[in-house]
Assembly symmetry: C2
Homo-oligomer: 170 residues x 2
Amino acid sequence: MSLRHALLGLLADRPASGYDLLKLFDTSLAHVWPATQSQLYGELNRLAEAGLVDVSAEGPRRRKEYTVTEEGLKELRAWLVAPTQQQPQRSELLLKVFFFDLATDEQARAVLAEREQRATAYHERLMELRTALEDEEGPFTSNGLIALEYGLRRAEMEWEWARWAAEQLG
Amino acid sequence: MSLRHALLGLLADRPASGYDLLKLFDTSLAHVWPATQSQLYGELNRLAEAGLVDVSAEGPRRRKEYTVTEEGLKELRAWLVAPTQQQPQRSELLLKVFFFDLATDEQARAVLAEREQRATAYHERLMELRTALEDEEGPFTSNGLIALEYGLRRAEMEWEWARWAAEQLG
DNA sequence: CTTCGACATGTCAGTGATGGAATATCCACC
DNA sequence: GGTGGATATTCCATCACTGACATGTCGAAG
């Protein structure tokens, strides 16, 4: 349900087309709220129907540029201050942990090692992203860095936990 | 897709009915892979159709008791050692952080404070669950504690981050 | 002048989760 | 003997996400 607010948020900075927004998603919001092209175009049309955005310009190649309406901004601000519902956390990894008794110790260790690796790799990617972000000056940079820090801390937590868990198995 | 494996995993410990499994989900797996009643019964029927479980007994009130088949166990073990796909992380909280410029500092702080509170409350709940688990001896206790530790660490990470983030706003 | 890559939008089938309603049985208690 | 609560299963409408397919335009490079 928040894809809608992600779009409104990006459009609040500046008008953009679906294509623009798709790229913005891939860069800025990729780690926070990934979305596919089909979702995005569909939601844009629904947003326009609901009067939260307007088509402010049409360009070549059927390009439609969207702008948030007053109503859209209102909706966005209301969402920002509404209580954040935390979505139920499903974790395939932890599910496997639950059933570790069905595997050998070696197999269990492999599962944990895989996660540790992934977490460190992800951490590195985020560190690169951070240095990249620090150079350029975008509208979402400083807030983006706060969100990014969450990812970094989470990755650290994950590999520390994975190591600890592997010890527990012994 | 892993609901299937969650069910197989629980049934691998002992045969059970849908109703039993629902209760097991609510207690043991609630924090790891929540599932609703409609999902669960549906998946059980599909599992039986696929030959991964058998109806091993029928009791009063149309109760059907399911048991994993050899094939089901095979599937479960294959899943355990297969690479764990990490599902894309959508976070409504981080999305809000991205758009903090649209809110007042006060509002942003409130969002962060709410999360900090939730994280500490969740941490407390998990601590209680841990002491409860440590007393009783279940089949999944020791692995459950490893999974639970993940939740604890994550909650700690979250409130530390929320505090840090609030400082950044100043 | 053609072709290739980037730009740009739309649609659809399949899958899985949500939430609620409908149905029925058994048991304990009054 | 009737009622309420726990046991137990099934179905359905709705919604969101995925991944793929379909369609078409423009600009630059050769």
